[in-house]
């Protein structure tokens, strides 16, 4: 983990409110599921924003982000060669060594970002990917390349199947479910995992201030007490999460 100022190699619009930023970041080790606290150097906001690693090849750090508010809006306007402050890689990442058997990756919207870097690092496993979007689809390449099966669903039916992607998963086929996406989707999957005794991992989105475990702002209730999403997470196993009381 380090604090550094990275140059933007490119920052391009993908579709709708989705953007992809490439940053110089050489020779580091990054686990899938880890994230960075990202901050533009000018701009009228205070806290860095947590953004997952979308891809990394030892040279270029790729981020996929959705413009939802002030901070991400400013990100979308940054130009090549400008610098951004990044702190990371942070968090635990997915427990690659523990993931077993047949795996379903289930991503919703921008939640596919961390799964993208995961899918190529899970090569050794049998993976099916289920990706849900509202209307437009994006960033399918890696999932196509590394999954045995790829199921796409959109709420509008514009691409792939119509409906929520979770409606098209045959849960019993899997030993492990890995999810990142809207909280309702993740809660549903965690519940299904618990009910059907399938191992699940979810990457949680909590509001963060420090990103390194110092402020205790990102607390997550687990069966073994309060944990920090930025430090002991953002990836948690479904069993340990106390979902009912999560405000997400």
């Amino acid at each position: 983990m380090e604090l550094t100022y990275s140059s933007i190699i490119q920052n391009k619009h993908i579709v709708e409110d989705i953007y992809e930023m490439h940053l110089e970041f050489e020779n580091k080790e990054i686990n899938p599921g880890q994230f960075f606290m990202v901050k533009s150097l000018e701009g009228s906001y205070l806290l860095p924003r947590p953004i997952s690693v979308y891809d990394y090849d030892g040279k270029i750090l790729k981020l996929l982000y959705k413009v939802v508010g002030k901070g991400t809006k400013i990100f979308s306007k940054l130009k090549t060669e400008e610098k951004v402050q990044i702190l990371g890689p942070l968090g635990n990442g997915f427990p690659l060594q523990d993931i077993k058997g047949k795996v379903a990756l289930i991503g919703g919207g921008i939640g596919i970002a961390p799964l993208n870097y995961l899918v190529k690092n899970l090569k050794a496993f049998e993976i099916d990917s289920y990706l849900g979007f509202r209307d437009k689809i994006y960033s399918l390449d890696k999932f196509e390349e590394f999954s045995q099966k790829l199921v796409i669903a959109t709420e509008t039916g514009n691409y792939g199947k119509k409906g929520f992607v979770t409606d098209f998963v045959n849960w019993e086929d899997y030993d492990t479910l890995i999810t990142c996406g809207p909280e309702v989707m993740m809660n549903k999957i965690i519940k299904i995992g618990k009910d059907k005794s399938i191992k699940t991992y979810a990457s949680l989105e909590k509001r963060m201030a420090c990103g390194i475990g110092a402020c205790l702002g990102c607390s997550v209730k687990t069966t073994s007490g309060i944990k920090r999403a930025c430090k002991e997470g953002p990836v948690f196993s479904g069993e340990e999460l106390v979902v009912e009381e999560q405000p997400w």
């Binding site: 901050k39 205070l46 806290l47 110092a214 990102c218």
Partner: protein
Amino acid sequence: MVNLKVDFLGKEFKNPVLSASGTFGFGEEYEDIFDISRLGGICSKGLTLNKKEGNEGIRIWETPMGMMNSIGLQNPGVESFISREINIMKKFNTNIIANLGGNTEEEYLKGIELLNTSEVDIIELNISCPNVKEGGMAFGIKSKTAYDIVKKCKKVSKKPLMIKLSPNAENIGEMAKACEEAGGDALSLVNTFSGMAVDIDKRSPVFNNIYAGVSGPAIKPIALKMVHEAAQNVDIPICGVGGISSGRDALEFIMAGASLIQVGTANFMKPDICIDIINEIEVFLIKENIKDIKEIIGIV
């Protein structure tokens, strides 16, 4: 060379820049980012006699150039601190300030008794946390209540006591004076301002506790005024806190009467900002030909 050293309650501080309670953990998370021994001191996360899990629901919310938090004093408890976390802090070779909160008089007194035997340099008595219901803050609103608790704490404390004031105090000048008269050795101010956010889409308060604490650059001019007002009212030394995010900010507080300053929210903006602040203070002194930082403490 200019002198940044400050003598405060008999302890030598390398420089006047401390990390503020609750924003710096017990230091270890920042270790990979910069050399923590460069700090004048570290204020621990707010401790309570017994372990606390903190508040439910959203704990962090951004505001214009500020933030709100409702952590609710999540902490391992004083005993754990003394046996574990203090050892992390000790290796940074800087002053250790234990921030102590409480809901009852007994909790404060027992906490102090335990800390008496520890290696902390100073106890920062937090009578100002707005985020616990029964509330440390209850002690920090009315001068009379504060006087009583400080007086009692002082009696049992073998460590210097720095009283952390709330900006929600009814009258900050009077409050400062009351804490001095009760035997407080120093003051630190301010803690967070009581604030609120509404989620208009959900038509409900953002925080489970409805109110939460506001900090960051947004509060700086108000915090600075309170530090100045306190300094006008007491002779004990003051540690200034509230929205400091640059050397110039720190110098404003110092000139207004603070011997030391604490950096809180700004650590989140840029985790090595304390180092920038120390450097900026030094550069200013050199440029202005001020040999010793003590020359400008309280000159405004």
